[in-house]
C-alpha cells in the first residue's frame, strides 16, 4: 500500500465554554483514520456527528486535545504555527464551504492567490486562474469583479477554482458539490478524479450520495468517534 498522507489516531476534542459557566463539551474521542496517496475517503455520519470538526482539526484551525494527526509527515498536534503555514502553502489544500475574501479584490486574483503565495510569477498564475474559471463555467465578464456579490453557486465555484488551482498532495473537501447544478457538479467530480490520478490523498464530506459513490473509495463513519454521554 502507498504512503499514508493523513494518519490520525486516538484523537480527542472537547470545547470548554468559559463564558457559559465553563461547560465542557467532549465532542470526539478515539478518532482514527488514514488516507493514502491516490485515494478519496469520505467522512460520513449524521449532521452534528463531528465530520466538520475532524476536518478542521486536520486543517489545523481546531486544536487537537489528545492523540496524533499527521499530515504529509507533519505532526499537527504539536506543530509550530510556521510549520502549519508552510504545510498549507505547499502541501495541504482546503476547499471550505464558504469563500472568505478581501472585499473588492477581483475574482481572477482571488483564484490565482495560492499560486502567488508560492512565488509563481503573476502572469503565469493568471493564465492558470483563467483556465480554472473557464472550466468551472464562470463567465469571463465576472472575472474582474469581486466574488462577494456573486450567487451562492458562483461563489462555491470560485472557491473550487481556487482550491484546485494547485496540485496539492493532500486535499480536504467540505461539501464541494453542494449548491451546484448537474453540469458543474460533473466538472467538480472530474477535478477530484484527476487529482486522485495524479496521486493526491483526498478526504471529503459529501452529502450527495451519488457524488460520493462516484469519487470515493471508502467511507469512515465519525459516529464511532462520539464520546459516550457520561457527563449528561
Amino acid at each position: 500500500m502507498s504512503e499514508a498522507m493523513i494518519e490520525i489516531s486516538g484523537v480527542a476534542k472537547r470545547f470548554v465554554l468559559h463564558n457559559q459557566g465553563g461547560v465542557v463539551l467532549p465532542v470526539m474521542e478515539g478518532a482514527a483514520l488514514s488516507v493514502h496517496c491516490g485515494e478519496c475517503v469520505a467522512l460520513v455520519g449524521a449532521s452534528g456527528a463531528g465530520k466538520s470538526t475532524l476536518m478542521r482539526m486536520i486543517w489545523g484551525n481546531y486544536r487537537c486535545d489528545d492523540g496524533s494527526i499527521q499530515v504529509a509527515g507533519l505532526e499537527l498536534c504539536s506543530a509550530e504555527p510556521r510549520d502549519v503555514i508552510a504545510l498549507r502553502r505547499t502541501k495541504l489544500g482546503y476547499v471550505s464551504q464558504f469563500l472568505r475574501v478581501i472585499p473588492r479584490v477581483p475574482t481572477l486574483d482571488v483564484v490565482a492567490e495560492p499560486l502567488l503565495a508560492q512565488g509563481m510569477d503573476e502572469s503565469q498564475a493568471q493564465v492558470r486562474a483563467r483556465m480554472m474559471l473557464t472550466r468551472l463555467n464562470i463567465p469571463e465578464r465576472l472575472w474582474s469583479l469581486s466574488p462577494t456579490t456573486f450567487s451562492g453557486g458562483e461563489q462555491q465555484r470560485v472557491n473550487i477554482a481556487r482550491g484546485f488551482i494547485q496540485d496539492w498532495p493532500v486535499m480536504l473537501l467540505d461539501e464541494p458539490t453542494a449548491s451546484l447544478d448537474a453540469g458543474n457538479r460533473g466538472v467538480v467530480l472530474d477535478l477530484i478524479t484527476e487529482a486522485k490520478v495524479r496521486g493526491a490523498a483526498i478526504l471529503g464530506i459529501f452529502h450527495d450520495a451519488e457524488a460520493r459513490g462516484t469519487v470515493c473509495d471508502r467511507e469512515v463513519d465519525v459516529t464511532g468517534f462520539t464520546p459516550a454521554r457520561s457527563a449528561a
Binding site: F15, G60, Y62, R82, I102, R104
Partner: protein
C-alpha cells in the same frame, strides 16, 4: 534559518502600573503577526518597545540585523537604533499625520527617507518616489502635491510608500486601517497583503479589528491587562479560542 525577531520576557511598567509583561515570541522572516486586544491592553506599549520608541524595563529584543546579525536592540546605542529605524524597520502609524511631513510634497515625503540613508542624486530619488507612488496606487501626477490635499486613504498609502521605499525587512503597524472608511480599508488591506507577499516582508500589526487580523496575519497574539493570554495560528485562535477572554472577544464581533 535565523529568526528575524526574538522577544524574551519583555516587560514595561508605568510606575506601578503594568504596561505589558513577560512577553515572549519569535518572528520568522516573511511572517505577519497580529496583536489584538482592547484599548489599554498593552498592545501599543509592546509595539513601541519592539520598535525602539520606548525602553522596556526588562527583557531582550533580538533583531537579526542585515549587517551584524542578531543584536539586542534594547542595549544598542541610540544612534544604532535610529539607523535601524531608517533602514531595516518601518513604522506605520494609525494617523498618517504622525508618520508624514505634512508641509512637504508627496514625492518629498518618500524621497526624505531615501536621503536619510544617504541618497543624494535628485533624479534617482524622484524616480524612486514616482515608482513607489505608483505601487501604492497614487496618481503620479500628484507627486508635487502636499499630503494635506489627500484623502485619509491616500495619506495612509503615502505613509506606507514613505516607509517601504528603503526596503525594510520588518514593518510595525499600529492600527493601519483604524481611521479609514470600510471601503478604503479593504483596498488598503489588499495593498498591504500584496506588498508583504511580493517583498517578503515580516510585520507586526497591532489592531483591535479581528477581521483585519484574519486577512493579514499568519499568527496572532491576544493581550489583556498587559499580558499575552493566548497566541497561535490566526485561524486557530479565532475559530477555536481557548482562553475565556479570547472567547469573549471572538463572540462579541457583530455579524453584518
Amino acid at each position: 534559518m535565523t529568526p528575524l525577531l526574538q522577544v524574551e520576557s519583555l516587560s514595561k511598567f508605568y510606575g506601578n502600573h503594568l504596561g505589558c509583561g513577560e512577553v515572549n515570541f519569535t518572528l520568522w522572516p516573511g511572517e505577519v503577526m497580529g496583536i489584538v486586544g482592547e484599548s489599554g491592553s498593552g498592545k501599543s506599549t509592546l509595539l513601541n518597545c519592539l520598535a525602539g520608541h520606548m525602553a522596556p524595563d526588562t527583557g531582550r529584543v533580538i533583531f537579526d540585523t542585515r549587517t551584524n546579525g542578531p543584536r539586542d536592540t534594547v542595549t544598542m546605542t541610540e544612534s544604532e537604533r535610529r539607523w535601524l529605524a531608517r533602514t531595516d524597520w518601518a513604522f506605520v502609524h494609525q494617523n498618517p499625520r504622525d508618520g508624514l511631513r505634512m508641509n512637504v510634497s508627496a514625492g518629498g515625503n518618500v524621497g526624505d527617507r531615501l536621503m536619510a540613508v544617504g541618497a543624494r542624486h535628485y533624479g534617482d530619488i524622484r524616480r524612486q518616489a514616482q515608482d513607489w507612488l505608483g505601487r501604492v496606487e497614487i496618481d503620479q501626477a500628484r507627486i508635487d502635491d502636499r499630503p494635506r490635499a489627500f484623502s485619509g486613504g491616500m495619506q495612509q498609502r503615502l505613509q506606507i510608500a514613505r516607509n517601504l521605499v528603503t526596503g525594510p525587512r520588518l514593518v510595525f503597524m499600529d492600527e493601519p486601517t483604524g481611521g479609514l472608511d470600510v471601503s478604503v480599508q479593504a483596498r488598503l488591506l489588499d495593498l498591504l497583503r500584496g506588498l508583504v507577499r511580493r517583498l517578503g516582508l515580516s510585520a507586526v500589526v497591532v489592531t483591535h479589528d479581528l477581521a483585519v487580523v484574519r486577512l493579514l496575519a499568519d499568527r496572532v497574539m491576544v493581550m489583556k491587562d498587559g499580558r499575552v493570554v493566548e497566541q497561535g495560528l490566526t485561524d486557530q485562535v479565532l475559530d477555536d479560542p481557548q482562553h475565556a477572554y479570547t472567547q469573549l472577544l471572538v463572540s462579541s464581533v457583530l455579524q453584518v
